[in-house]
């Protein structure tokens, strides 16, 4: 069929089953927007900043498991999208970003709004394309979706010059993809898996170390089955929160820099790490030479480059977590007595009793941890929680009672402030039946605050809970601990009137200073079903604990801070 490049883009999106595109038009992408105007198959959400468009597509992808799609124009439109690409890249989120580019004849001439998009995005995309011939466009669109969601997922950029979107060409959307140089392996080597199973049977203190890959491969059910069958305790990384379900007795906690005492000690004392979709990030391991000194390591990952990158691995298995774990279960069926690791489990339970995650509640001032626990109590499993980056993110990960994968959405790898609100918009659009709450800070919320307008225009009722301590809290905490309290540029006392700001953009605002006010505000926000900012004044100098000081051994945690 003959059609323009712009039509091809729309037809491909329809063929891929895309329901929502987040974006922002501009000169070089106008041909595509003209076709978007004419069609009714998918909706387009106009964010108020390109960065937010990509984060929204990202949030949509994380919440639904589908590929998120964002569209931007050339030059600044694209460069604004880069933070979104990098965020998705670091957390392996399947995303398609389509950017306009100046016409082919002008490329390389420093034309108006020209920038080398494929050059800039190379380090933060899984793959990218500059379309230089309309004959290649259908294939590239098909390949991009395939690459984004297969293997280790990731963002793919398609940069399309304006004359290509105008040109007429033949359109047949390929049914299949054949990239001879790209063949991800999913199955896992049976011999290796059998060896790993034998190691599990022989171990005395095995530990499931669960990472974001479990969520990406939708392996939550298999993981729970494996844990149930073997009664092996589990720790989760920041990216895996919710996989086990916090009420599961085998769930020990989150590990890492702000992990629980029991989790970090479990990692330090285990004799067999069963790493599933995790990548031994520095925020998880602490000082590498002291990390898990007594453990052999089974490392299952779809990306071979993750295996052996930071730690030596005894049982490397390249494959999809879901498939490999199913095979592990087969090998382990009937091989492990339920009381095999009982002493180990009891020891970890004692660690959790000894040093549980805790905080000192107060009647005078709201504690941020209380607010999070309270949301958990009032909304619980009905909610999808997004967060920005900083203290509030860690408290949310520590204190929210998660009970399923994809319930917790945050920028773990890149640590992008300003991610939470637009990601919440995307999550809510993808999962309209859930209550979507963005737990944020007074620093982060202002980076992408313009999305209040988007949320109010499209009636996307995201609840933003600002844990407002008038500080850039996490940096302030480091300054307290490690910089003799020289609070360089972290005092955020000068703030907007958040209630008025919300109102000005068509939302609702609440000022909250007491527990009663918080309950009331949250109830009201859920009833009103409108975007809102909840400005919650919390104690200013609260610290996130425990804390493994950067570069320190995982077992050396600061459990309390005395001034």
């Amino acid at each position: 069929m003959k059609m323009s490049g712009a039509q091809m883009v729309c037809e491909a999106l329809i063929a891929e089953g895309v329901k929502t595109v987040f974006g922002y038009p501009g000169g070089a992408i106008m041909n595509v927007y003209d076709e978007i105007y004419k069609q009714k198959s998918f909706e387009h959400i106009l964010t108020r900043h390109e960065q937010a468009a990509v984060h929204a597509a990202d949030g949509y992808a994380r919440a639904t498991g589908e590929v998120g799609v964002a569209m931007v124009t050339s030059g600044p439109g694209f460069t604004n999208a880069v933070t979104g690409l990098a965020t998705a890249y670091m957390d392996s989120i399947p995303l398609i970003v389509i950017s306009g580019q100046v016409p082919l004849s002008l490329i390389g001439t420093d034309a108006f709004q020209e920038i080398d998009a494929v050059g800039i995005s190379r380090p933060c995309t899984k793959h990218n394309y500059l379309v230089d011939d309309i004959a290649n466009l259908p294939r590239i669109l098909k390949e991009a979706f395939f690459i984004a969601k297969s293997g280790r997922p990731g963002p793919v950029l398609i940069d399309i010059p304006k004359d290509i979107t105008a040109e007429i060409g033949d359109f047949v959307y390929p049914k299949e993809v054949n990239i001879p140089t790209y063949k991800p392996s999913y199955k896992g080597n049976d011999r290796q898996i059998k060896k790993a199973a034998e190691a599990i049977i022989a171990a005395k203190k095995p530990l499931l170390y669960l990472g974001g890959g479990v969520v990406l491969s939708n392996a939550g059910d298999e993981i729970r089955k494996l844990a149930q069958l073997t009664q092996i305790p589990a720790v989760e990384t920041l990216m895996a929160r919710g996989v086990m379900g916090d009420t599961n007795p085998l769930f020990i906690g989150m590990l890492g820099m702000h992990g629980s005492y029991a989790s970090n000690m479990a990692m330090s004392e285990t004799d067999l790490i069963i790493s599933l979709g995790a990548r031994f990030d520095d925020r998880v391991t602490g000082k590498l030479s002291e990390f898990a000194r007594y453990a052999d390591i089974i490392h299952v990952d779809i990306d071979p480059a993750n295996i052996g990158k930071l730690v030596d691995v005894d049982y490397p298995i390249v494959g999809d977590i879901n498939k490999v774990v199913a095979k592990l279960i087969n090998f382990l069926q009937g091989e492990v007595k339920p009381d095999r690791y009982q002493a180990w489990r009891e020891m970890l339970a004692r660690y959790n009793e000894l040093h549980p995650l805790s905080y000192q509640d107060s009647d005078d001032i709201l504690k941020p941890q209380w607010v999070i626990e309270r949301i958990g109590k009032l909304v619980g499993e009905d909610a999808i929680i997004t967060s920005d980056v900083g203290q509030h993110q860690m408290w949310a990960a520590q204190f929210y009672p998660f009970d399923r994968p994809r319930q917790w959405i945050n920028s773990g790898g890149l640590g992008t402030m300003g991610f939470g609100f637009p990601a919440a918009l995307g999550a809510k659009r993808g999962c309209p039946d859930k209550v979507v709450i963005n737990i944020t800070g007074d620093g982060s919320i202002l980076m992408n605050i313009q999305e209040l307008v988007t949320a109010s225009e499209y009636k996307i009722p995201v609840i933003n809970v600002i844990l407002n301590n008038h500080y850039l809290g996490m940096v302030r905490q480091w300054q307290t601990f490690f910089y003799d309290k020289r609070y360089s540029e972290t005092d955020l006392s000068h703030q907007p009137d958040f209630v008025a700001l919300a109102k000005a953009c068509g939302g609702i605002g609440y000022n909250v200073t007491t527990k009663a006010e918080f309950d009331e505000a949250l109830k009201d926000a859920m009833e009103k079903n409108q975007v809102c900012l909840m400005n919650v004044a919390v104690s200013r100098l609260e610290n996130v604990l425990p804390m493994v000081p950067s570069g320190g051994a995982l077992y050396n945690m600061l459990l309390e801070y005395k001034d």
């Binding site: 050059g119 190379r122 899984k126 230089d132 990239i179 140089t181 071979p304 480059a305 052996g308 990158k309």
Partner: protein, 156 residues
């Protein structure tokens, strides 16, 4: 950790951006490139990039894995049993002892390739170590310019 020298061949799709992906990977992840050559493979749409790098075993393993991960990479060959050759071109004044220079270069699989007004150009093709020896040996003939070609390698 001890650093080892490795010759790695990367077979890639012959696309405009593929060299940028490869060199960007080395730059972005802090890997070291001693030499890099690239040329199309006859018949077909593939290219061969030959890279000489140095690093600990862990780093070398990461390099090959990261190269493999690139969507446009067909194959990564970490050479152990290989024939490797490098070419060098050296320019001398023709006031130097030409017959000595010729004899020297033929000992390194080379010879005089060009004689111009006032200068001669000599080439040699041999293993990198031997090319270094050749360059050192020509020193006393006051070379005007030395151009090394980088390594190409083939499995034995």
């Amino acid at each position: 950790m001890q650093e080892v020298r490795r010759v790695i061949s990367v077979i890639v799709m012959n696309e405009s951006s593929v060299l940028a992906w490869v060199s960007g990977l080395f730059a972005g992840r802090g890997y070291n490139i001693e030499s890099l050559t690239v040329a199309p493979i006859p018949r077909g749409n593939l290219s061969r990039i030959t890279i000489v790098t140095k690093g600990s075993n862990r780093v070398i393993e990461q390099i090959t894995k990261q190269l493999n991960k690139l969507v446009s990479t067909l194959k990564v060959i970490e050479h152990e049993e290989m024939v490797e050759k490098e070419m060098v071109l050296i320019k001398f004044s023709n006031q130097e002892n030409i017959s000595d220079i010729q004899a020297l270069s033929s000992a390194y699989n080379g010879g005089i390739v060009n004689v111009g007004e006032g200068v001669i150009i000599v080439m040699a093709a041999d293993e990198s170590k031997r090319i270094e020896n050749f360059i050192a040996a020509t020193h006393r003939y006051n070379p005007i310019e030395v151009v090394r070609g980088g390594i190409v390698a083939i499995e034995r």
